[in-house]
């Protein structure tokens, strides 16, 4: 009568601290350059070595430029942070995929695609989008830098056990509706704090029918509902995806792992602290109109009336929108395809399928940023680069890029950006930037028309 979450969590409990948190063993720690330097500095100050260095993988992704990665990073502060990660990895004996390394990319794209993220694991990273890895049937969640230091020092973390929630989405997704739209729809219903304190398991036929890439997108956005993490029970889709990947178990080890992974599902009589159900048929392509990801609507709908809070007014004021307005036909300036949310091969396939035979609108600046070098290679292998080039798009080099604009991919103040990333917070894509979150299909439609467009018009 256990949930999937319970099974994995319980299997990793080292001890229950009296009247306190759980000491949880961590199978995999991912480190990027932004949230780890102070943790390594803390280790040095305490004179500690990493307890289990082989469990830890490091790669820079937030600061990396999306061009000329073979040359030194121009911004000296970004360069220092990327260099610091390389030095820390070397000093502490950790795996490190540096810039231009063929295995480099956004940490949440690289983990699954290399077979480093596996079902049944506990996974943490100093990054809220660590929830992404839950798509593989893992308990994965974002942590702070002090907690990164805990894992470096002991391979454990002290955490309060979250409550469990199951979100079931039954039915078939309509034309032009993607995993991204599912997530934006859920957030619009549940708000950005609707799942705070919970670990979510996504279930139902609409989730089962998603590809691995789609599930990664869905779980990626769990944190935007406030959830500690999100997960999908591993199944044939998961096993098929993992098999043969570089770090995945092989031979006998594979058979043994597979037998275990097949036990990783919530029991039929499992009890969740909360159950939520949605109907896939109610979801249409989504777009956000405000400054948190829960402020989203169907692309043909109107911005709702103010809820009377100062936050709502501030938000619409920042975006330059008014309540009651429909966004269709509204001129946009930038399109961003990428991020740990939508920087995978399927996202590039979707974008390319829609722009094929069309041309990018002249006034639109489009940044297409693969999530990793592996995605980049696959884009070229499948000839998607040619389709995109013919339509007037160029492919940049991998990294987090304009999702949070820590490199030089910044949307200028006041400009509108249709973005496949995960956050539309004020200034997220650059000071004053106005972000509209959407799927790769909706972003593609906007890129060729230059205005907010229902992607179904091109399908």
């Amino acid at each position: 009568m256990n949930t999937l979450f319970d099974k994995i969590w319980d299997a990793h409990v080292v001890q229950q601290v009296e009247e306190g948190p759980t000491q949880l063993y961590i199978d995999r720690l991912y480190c990027h350059e932004v949230t780890s330097p102070q943790a390594f500095a803390g280790m040095r100050a305490r004179g500690l070595k990493c307890f289990r260095p082989d469990h830890i993988y490091c790669m820079p992704d937030h600061n990396t430029p999306t061009h000329d990665q073979d040359k030194p990073i121009e911004d000296p502060v970004s360069k220092a942070q990327v260099d610091t990660l390389a030095k820390n990895a070397e000093d502490f004996g950790l795996n490190h995929f540096g810039m231009m390394h063929p295995k480099n990319g956004i940490i949440h794209v690289v983990g699954p695609e290399r077979g480093l993220t596996l079902p049944g694991m506990t996974i943490v990273c100093g990054d809220s989008h660590t929830s992404t890895h839950g798509a593989m049937g893992a308990v994965a969640f974002g942590i702070g830098t002090s907690e990164v230091e805990m894992v470096l020092a002991s391979q454990c973390i002290l955490q309060a056990r979250p409550k469990t929630m199951r979100i079931t989405i039954e039915g078939e997704l309509g034309k032009g509706v993607t995993a991204k739209d599912m997530a934006l729809y859920m957030m619009s219903k549940m708000t950005t704090s609707g799942a705070t304190g919970y670990f979510v398991e996504y279930a139902g036929s609409a989730v089962r029918n998603l590809t691995m890439e789609g599930r990664l997108t869905l779980c990626n956005l769990s944190i935007e509902m406030g959830a500690r993490g999100g997960m999908v029970a591993p199944d044939e889709t998961t096993f098929e995806y993992i098999k043969g990947r570089e770090y995945a178990p092989k031979g006998e080890a594979w058979d043994k792992a597979l037998a275990y992974w097949k036990t990783l599902k919530s029991d039929d009589d499992a009890v969740f602290d909360k159950e939520v159900k949605f109907d896939a048929a109610d979801i249409q392509p989504m777009i956000t109109y405000g400054t948190n990801p829960g402020m989203g609507m169907g692309i043909t709908e109107q911005i709702p009336a103010s809820d009377g809070t100062a936050s709502f007014e501030k938000s619409l004021n920042y975006m330059g929108f008014e309540a009651g307005e429909c966004l269709l036909g509204k001129k946009i300036d930038y399109v961003f395809l990428g991020a740990c949310t939508n920087g995978r091969i399927e996202d590039f396939r979707a974008f390319a399928s829609l722009v094929k035979g069309h041309k990018k609108a002249d006034h639109v600046i489009a940044w297409l940023v693969p999530g990793s070098w592996m995605v980049d290679a696959q884009i070229r292998e499948e000839g998607l680069d040619k389709v995109l080039e013919e339509a007037g798009f160029a492919i940049r080099q991998p990294g987090c890029s304009a999702c949070l604009a820590m490199n030089d991919d910044k949307i200028p103040a006041g400009k509108y950006s249709v973005s496949t990333s995960n956050r539309n917070f004020e200034g997220r894509q650059g000071p004053g930037a106005r972000t509209l979150l959407a799927s790769p299909l909706t972003a593609a439609a906007a890129a060729i028309t230059g205005v907010i467009t229902d992607p179904r018009e091109f399908m």
Binding site: E19, Q23, S193, F425, E426, G427
Partner: protein, 198 residues
Amino acid sequence: MKQKFDIITSTCVPLPLENVDTDQIIPARFLKATTREEKFFGDNLFRDWRYHPDGSLNEDFVLNNPTYGGEILVAGKNFGSGSSREHAAWAIAGYGFRVVVSSFFADIHKNNELNNFVLPVVVSEGFLKELFDSIDANPQMQVEVNLPAQTITNQATGKSEHFEINAYKKHCLMNGLDDIDFLVANKDKIEAWENASR
């Protein structure tokens, strides 16, 4: 850092906005530091709300209003949502806040505050609303946050509320201990777990 926590009585800085995300608390461009310089992060707390794009002070923002000050930040519900950046907690601590009061905190940020000896105090919606009203009526009114007793008192109304914190973390805050001290002292248990789960 590691400042022992006991009873704090202070005036408050009100921020009656909901869903204040960590990108607002400290924008991403200030995350490039490789050291924990709390002053640097504190100086850039709420940077894009405190300053206009041209760098001039936004006098409408509460941190720039000399009427308000103190060690207690009072914020609308769902404080600290979004990014896991601990820099947000460093910025709050670096600015000089030791307590953040709200009716609801995002999970990761709440842990980050605790790990930096900033106490997140969760109060009821009603208590929070009344607190904002009291501060509005008299910016000099004080609030007492009593960690040993786990109570928060609005001294303008005299009303108190109990707040939750687990006994372990309370002990850490009151004694200036952190989780790494605890974990490193437990390595035999970790090795035993590893051996048992092979």
